[in-house]
């Protein structure tokens, strides 16, 4: 698993006090003014459109046809597999599963990670336990554990989502906690406490808003990792056998022994994974950049 691209030091350096200076609207304007940010966002939008309108773009892959293992042509843009099914249709339908799992798993990770991170940042007693649990989770070999769990439960889109989400939260928690610690040491938090605000109110109304930009970045990065995890598990045969996913197209190619003779069956789903992960990562990095006071002359 890749390390989070936003380091704790960087996160801590991003003082929340600078947030109001970079207004939301101008932040987005800065984001889109960079070609890489614009391109990444465009790729993500196209992917989402593909996923939503998959039934309009291509029929759900199924059945058999005599056009077995045809290379890419006008009739079959991405070629066909060993049953004669269209790879383009499989990639388009695979976008649905990959995006769904990516987004849903990252939401699970964000909710868990933010809750644990903020609680650890503000409540000292929670911190002792929360930090240890987070460290233990970070030290676990995630991939073998996910393989193990996926083998026990019945593979489906939802079980995969939960498994991936549950293993992705610790990095988010650590990130949120480190910035939460900076924020909770600020004078205005002391002020809120003096005025009699409850712990719950301080965490949800004062600290949470200050870490929201960091959460947005985390969503993108976690989602891209989740997409890779899903493809990996599906490739190992632990995915949902009823849902098309990019990993499953690769698995089909590997299992039927056509990797050497049908390059199109591995190239196009791999490109799709690359594009999505790259776009999400670049978008996350650019978004992180616009909050960085050093880059904005703040």
């Amino acid at each position: 698993m890749s390390a989070p691209l936003v380091t704790e030091a960087e996160a801590a350096a991003t003082a929340p006090a600078t947030e109001p200076a970079v207004g939301t609207r101008s932040a987005w304007r800065t984001f889109f003014r960079q070609p890489s940010g614009l391109l990444a966002a465009a790729v993500l939008v196209v992917m989402v459109l593909l996923a939503v309108f998959a039934p309009l773009i291509a029929d759900e892959p199924g059945g058999t046809s005599p056009d077995v293992l045809r290379s890419p042509s006008g009739g079959h843009l991405f070629g066909t597999d060993d049953l004669g099914q269209d790879i383009f249709a499989q990639v388009v339908w695979g976008t649905r599963t990959s995006l769904l799992i990516g987004v849903a798993a990252s939401l699970i990770a964000i909710v868990l990670g933010t809750a644990i991170g903020l609680a650890s940042a503000y409540f000292r007693r929670v911190d002792a336990v929360g930090t240890v649990v987070t460290d233990v989770m970070l030290a676990l070999p995630t991939l073998p554990l996910m393989i193990m769990l996926a083998a026990i439960v019945n593979p489906s889109v939802w079980t995969l989502t939960v498994i991936i989400g549950v293993f992705a939260w610790p990095e988010v928690a650590r990130l949120i906690r480190s910035q939460g610690l900076v924020v909770s040491a600020m004078p205005y938090i002391d002020g809120a406490r003096v005025l009699g605000a409850s712990g719950w109110r301080i965490v949800t109304r004062e600290i949470l808003p200050a870490v929201v930009p960091l959460i947005v970045v985390s969503v993108l990065l976690t989602a891209s990792r989740a997409v890779i995890s899903e493809a990996g598990l599906s490739f190992l045969g632990l995915g949902d056998p009823d849902a098309w996913s990019w990993g499953r197209i690769l698995l089909n190619a590997q299992r039927s022994g056509v990797v050497a003779i049908a390059w199109w069956q591995t190239l196009f789903p791999s490109l799709a994974i690359l594009l999505l992960v790259l776009a999400a990562t670049v978008a996350g990095m650019r978004f992180n950049d616009i909050r960085d006071p050093r880059r904005n002359g703040g």
């Binding site: 070999p141 393989i147 193990m148 083998a151 190992l236 590997q254 299992r255 022994g257 056509v258 050497a260």
Partner: protein, 545 residues
């Protein structure tokens, strides 16, 4: 077999093993790089390198064996009989066998020229010891085949007599083919043979004997210089080396690159054209001794109904499965008896036609209703379990699910990781089992292991308990007259077909690829378990030139 662990515990154990295997697998990549040894070599020192996908999991030939286990151990430990290229039994250690005493005694006459690699001759006492050990410790699948044995005699060095409690027609065939003969003077000192690992200092009497084993990489076997079934009394190849390639794509590339000389596992039908333009690589085609099937769990309330099973049989398009998934390289079947057993296959019965509309009408007549108008019968939701690593079966399940939907039957694809699948199969946790039977050497043993309620072979995947079927099978088993026996088998074929306990899918042809510019003389036997790497075949192989 003791069942100490509950299904859940076993599943955890499987999962832990899987996790560990995955972790190890990551570090195991590229194990086959940088091999310096090569298949070249003059005359008697030639090394035949065979690709395989799995490690040897067990070196004790008396226990149940996986594919790689049986390739290596069958080359070391002789069997009384072998299966030849025409799927018929042929002599190996035994010259011949006869029945006396009204079919209640089977007498094997052994050859006198087999020798263990430590110099001692292979004698009748070795056969007696092997069979008695299997019975004592209930080892492997052979134990079930020795059920009727009351005593074993070895009156001289080349005669073995099995006394049976009742006549059982295919006794000698089954035991002769499946039972490994082990050296008594080595194994008797090992104590409890169910716990004997036999993982070093091997002594064998086959054409090759293991010299070294490196888990995850290779198994090297050296020639037995006294093997009477090889031309000239000893194999022409000096060493056989099994190399591990967990992925079939890599194995095919290794063959093309000249890293191996033979693929032990068959080439997938879809990938056969990989070798189309390679003049050095030849493909040998053999039939199967098993078949692919959908088997229905009778403990499921819907599947317990004959109409539902028949409707499901009508919702599988076997013809299109054969033409697409197997590229036409397979035969259709109608009942549970494979056309390989031509004498016993009931040719009067016809496969259920592919007719989704007819299946729908059948289910409607049986009282199933589609109240919510979604095109699927209410409450009829069945899972199809399969092994995710079997390329053909996973494709079949995918197509079956689509065609069954047209008949109003909702199927859920439950193809899972192999070990999970095996443990679920063992615990009966499935509705429909989609899998492939490897080797049935005779129809009687097949029917006994798949349909008897006592489940002696452990593969009654129907979990069928039918007094009627039990009676028919027991009746046939005790019939010694060959013609009457065949008639009874044909009748069971018909009954099982009418009941639709299973939907047979296809009998596959297997293709084995080898480097014909280096080696020649393979004698391929049917099935992917035997294929090109039987003891007999390895003994006949010779280097080219």
């Amino acid at each position: 077999m003791s069942r100490t662990f509950s299904g859940r515990t076993r599943r955890w154990r499987v999962a832990v093993a899987l996790g560990a295997a995955a972790a190890l697998g990551l570090s195991g990549c590229g194990l086959n790089e940088g091999n310096s040894s090569s298949g070249e070599g003059s005359g008697g020192d030639a090394v035949l390198r065979v690709g395989t996908t799995t490690d040897v999991s067990n070196f004790n030939p008396l226990q149940s064996l996986s594919k790689t286990d049986s390739w290596i151990l069958n080359a070391m430990y002789p069997h009384l009989l072998r299966i030849d290229e025409n799927a018929k039994k042929a002599p190996e250690l035994a010259k011949e066998y006869t029945y006396t005493d009204g079919g209640k005694t089977a007498v094997f006459t052994l050859r006198d020229d087999f020798t263990w690699t430590d110099g001692k001759p292979v004698v009748a006492e070795d056969v007696k010891f092997s069979a008695e050990s299997i019975m004592k410790y209930k080892l492997g699948n052979v134990a079930a085949k020795l059920t009727w044995v009351t005593s074993i005699e070895a009156p001289d060095a080349t005669t073995v007599k099995f006394h049976l409690s009742q006549p059982y027609a295919p006794f000698a065939e089954g035991v002769g083919f499946w039972m490994s003969i082990v050296p008594k003077h080595i194994f008797e000192g090992a104590g409890d043979l169910s716990k004997f690992a036999n993982d070093s200092n091997w002594v064998g009497a086959g054409p090759f004997v293991l010299e070294s084993a490196t888990k995850g990489q290779r198994y090297v076997m050296k020639r037995n210089d006294r093997y009477p079934l090889a031309p000239g009394g000893k194999p022409a190849v000096g060493k056989v080396e099994f190399r591990l390639y967990p992925d079939v794509n890599t194995m095919m590339l290794a063959l093309r690159n000249g890293d191996i000389d033979l693929m032990g596992t068959p080439v997938p039908a879809s990938a056969a054209k990989t070798f189309a333009n390679d003049s050095k690589i030849k493909l040998a085609k053999v039939g199967a001794l098993g078949f692919a099937h959908l088997t229905y769990n009778m403990n499921n309330k819907d599947l317990a109904r004959q109409e539902v099973r028949q409707a499901l049989s009508m919702a599988v398009d076997t013809k299109s499965i054969i033409s697409s998934v197997l590229q036409g390289d397979a035969r259709e079947m109608s009942g549970p008896i494979s056309p390989i057993f031509a004498d016993y296959d009931n040719t009067e019965i016809q496969p259920y036609p592919f007719d989704p509309a007819g299946a729908k009408a059948k289910l409607a007549a049986a009282g199933y209703k589609d109240g919510d108008g979604d095109g699927l019968f209410d409450g009829l939701d069945l899972g199809v379990a399969c092994d995710q690593s079997n390329a053909n079966i996973t494709r079949v399940v995918q197509l079956f699910r689509e065609s069954a939907a047209k008949a109003g039957i909702k199927l859920t694809n439950e193809c899972v990781e192999r070990n999970t699948f095996l443990s679920r199969t063992k615990d009966g946790e499935y509705d429909i089992d989609a899998s492939q039977w490897g080797v049935f050497d005779n129809p009687m043993d097949q029917l006994r292991s798949t349909y008897l309620s006592s489940n002696p072979g452990g593969i009654n995947y129907n979990l069928l308990k039918s007094p009627e079927i039990d009676r028919l099978i027991d009746d046939a088993a005790g019939t010694t007259d060959p013609a009457a026996f065949a008639t009874k088998i044909k009748n069971i074929d018909k009954v099982v077909h009418e009941q639709a306990y299973l939907t047979p899918l296809y009998v596959e042809n297997f293709q084995f690829a080898y480097n014909a510019s280096k080696f020649t003389g393979f004698v391929a036997s049917p099935s992917d378990l035997l294929g090109m790497v039987t003891a007999y075949s390895l003994a006949q192989v010779k280097p080219v030139g």
